[in-house]
């Protein structure tokens, strides 16, 4: 049975309050299109209204990101917006030799990191954002992206290795 309306309204409100903007950001990055992202986020919350808190089981964020991602991928597939999350791209990016820690410290700055991020394959960018921007665990990311946890771990490891290498390169951005 569905909970009382007030309770349900509060549930939706809280979800909007907490997750609307992160979800917008995530979907906008997936699509590269903030307008379409808004449509998708909106539809996602409409779908949330049809759920009871019990059905979501306390995993509201995970649920929202999963549903929104699916919708975003539909858009990408239908409209051929980009090559979505080309699997296998990651294999080409393998960490090189480690570099001294002292060198890394001087190189690490937000601008540099943000400038490097778009150079990663889409699938790595996505898990990086889910992990380090939205704070999801490997397990949650696996659920959202329908990847295995091993795959998530591999993508993150590879992405971090690439970023570390780029950040410590003398001629880095």
């Amino acid at each position: 049975m569905s909970p009382p309306l007030d309770e349900h309204t509060a549930f939706v409100r809280e979800a909007i309050r907490l997750h609307e903007r992160p979800l917008l950001r995530y979907v906008a990055h997936l699509l590269g299109d903030p307008d379409r992202a808004r449509d998708i986020v909106q539809d996602t919350f409409i779908k949330l209204c049809r759920q009871t808190p019990a059905e979501i089981g306390g995993h509201v964020a995970e649920w929202l990101f999963t549903v929104a991602r699916r919708a975003a991928l539909d858009v990408i597939r239908k409209e051929g917006r980009m090559s979505p999350f080309a699997e296998g791209q990651a294999e080409r990016l393998v960490a090189a030799e480690p570099t001294p820690a002292s060198q890394t410290e001087t190189r690490e700055s937000c601008q540099q990191v943000l400038a490097l991020l778009p150079r990663l394959p889409h699938n790595q960018q996505e898990v990086v954002r889910l992990k380090f921007q939205e704070g999801f665990s490997y397990k949650e990311i696996a659920a959202i992206t329908h990847l295995s946890m091993g795959n998530v771990g591999f993508l993150l490891h590879t992405a971090l290795a690439t970023l570390r290498r780029e950040l410590t390169r003398p001629s880095a951005v």
Binding site: R21, R25, R50, V113, Y138, G153, L160
Partner: protein, 497 residues
């Protein structure tokens, strides 16, 4: 000889604490004999930290962007909550203001150089774009050092640290000033709590704009067609001979009746669902419509930007009273964005002190035979002392509107006497100037504050104005005491003169 390959994803899983306890213990065994792997873990952590910091510095999309498009409005930030959060008075608000003012600036990541202390008169001097997330300033950066913990102000010794009062700006060089409408009121409770605990508040914590906006004023209600009304009033400044005081008031319309909830339907997306699912979709829409209607009712106008253009032909210089170092963001940390919305039924008050240009000598009748018409190409414009320009959007409308309200008034000598309401606002501002020990406080005195407040007491529905006067009396007593009665237990009270 390294045992763990650098490409082993377990290094990252371990560094990010994503291993089960058993895996973790086993992996730590391997790490023990593998300095290279341990170094790799350290570097992964460093990179992860840098990455998290960089990603955290990316702005979240604005909710108002959602609103700015002709779409359903239910995605909007619950503005009603952010307002009502600040309306309750008392300890909660007092604690809250310390939290926002003292704790958060210390813990929030901010762009360098955004503190205001080095920018006198910044609120008036900021560029044309209205203060927004990017210019949110570091309120209380200095006071964070003084008051490391939330709690009551600890004493006068900690004053004189934070705020630099706004200086006068010349209208010729800085004809444009702006102020935010999302002004809080908790600053008044800081003052009250401090005074009632027996100490004057530290000057750096006195927020005049929040004190002034703690009170409601008799502004004209907007006509039915408008979400808000602008009113202006100008009189001689009580504390500075020859200066003028301008009060600008925005009054949001009252929340419409619940019946208008149907005004914001959520349009149906192309749906491929079964009829049964369609019904639930319909129910979902109803729910969202209700949420949206709630939010829309709570807002009179959104994205309100107020700009005041001073006429340099009449105004030599001006200053915005209060707003010295305002935290434009005052929202949940994770959602921090300026909601420049005017809540339904709410008013916002800003006070400007003006130094008028000396008037040119009036044309003498004796030389009327040789008329020299004054150069007034557009009397309506040149005669205005200032022009309030307001941009806003209605909650449910995608398009913004602009309202231009010039302030015409007589020459300073011919101004009518101020209303009791105006005087009360001046009293509150004067109280703030006094507590700040503001260099531009002029001739403000405790007597003057009480005298200004008195007529306004006739119109005091909530009792706040009477409380104000008794607060002023208490502060006055504290101020006239030879020493701050910080620890009166140890010595008998010998403070009477």
């Amino acid at each position: 000889m390294p045992q763990i390959d650098q490409n082993d994803p377990r290094l990252t899983a371990y560094a990010l604490d994503e291993m089960s306890a058993a895996d973790r213990a086993a992996f730590e065994q391997l790490l023990r004999d593998d300095p290279a792997a341990r170094a790799a873990v350290d570097e992964i952590r460093r990179t992860a930290d840098a990455l998290a910091a960089a990603l955290a510095s990316e702005p979240l999309p604005e909710r108002s962007v959602v609103l700015a498009t002709p779409r359903p409005h239910w995605l909007r930030r619950l503005v009603s909550e952010s307002w009502t959060l600040w309306l309750p008075v008392g300890a909660v608000a007092c604690f809250a203001v310390f939290f926002w003012r003292v704790y958060l600036p210390d813990h929030q990541r901010r762009p360098a150089g955004t503190t205001n202390a080095s920018a006198p008169g910044r609120p008036a001097g900021i560029p044309l774009e209205f203060a927004d997330a990017g210019s949110a300033d570091g309120v209380g950066a200095a006071s964070a050092e003084v008051h490391p913990r939330p709690g009551p102000p600890t004493g006068l010794t900690s004053s004189a640290t934070t705020l630099k009062p706004a200086h006068f700006l010349t209208a010729r060089q800085n004809p444009t000033s702006q102020f935010a409408v999302n002004v809080g009121t908790a600053g008044y409770d800081v003052v009250r709590r401090s005074v009632e605990s027996g100490e004057l508040p530290p000057t750096g914590l006195v927020r005049i704009e929040e004190m002034v906006n703690y009170f409601s004023y008799r502004y004209p209600r907007p006509p039915a067609t408008d979400p808000l009304a602008v009113s202006t009033e100008m009189h001689a400044a009580p504390w500075a001979t020859g200066h003028l005081l301008v009060r600008i008031g925005l009054q949001g319309r009252e929340a419409p009746a619940v019946a208008s909830a149907k005004a914001a339907p959520v349009p149906a997306p192309a749906s491929t669902e079964s009829p049964t699912a369609g019904r639930t979709t319909h129910a979902a829409r109803e729910l969202l419509t209700a949420v949206a209607a709630d939010e829309i009712r709570a807002i009179a106008a959104r994205d309100v930007k107020v700009q005041v253009d001073f006429n340099p032909d009449r105004v030599l210089a001006y200053r915005l009273i209060g707003y010295e170092n305002r935290l434009v963001k005052r929202d949940d940390a994770e959602l921090a964005t300026p909601d420049n919305n005017l809540a339904a039924g709410r008013s916002v008050t800003a006070l400007y002190e003006i130094i008028p240009l000396p008037l040119p000598a009036p044309p003498r009748t004796a030389v009327a035979a040789k008329p020299v018409p004054p150069p007034t190409p557009d009397p309506a414009d040149t005669a205005a002392w200032l022009t309030v320009k307001l941009r806003y959007a209605e909650p449910a409308a995608p398009q913004g509107r602009t309202v231009i309200v010039p302030l015409h008034a007589n020459a300073p000598a011919d101004l009518p006497p101020p209303s009791a309401d105006f005087k009360f606002a001046a009293a509150v501002a004067g109280f703030g100037l006094m507590l700040q020990n503001n260099p531009n406080k002029g001739t403000i005195s405790w007597d003057m504050i009480e005298e200004l407040a008195l007529p306004g007491l006739a119109d005091d529905s909530g009792g706040r104005r009477h409380d104000f006067v008794s607060l002023v009396k208490k502060a006055r007593a504290l101020d006239s005491a030879p020493t701050p009665p910080a620890k009166p237990e140890s010595t008998p009270a010998t403070t009477s003169p």
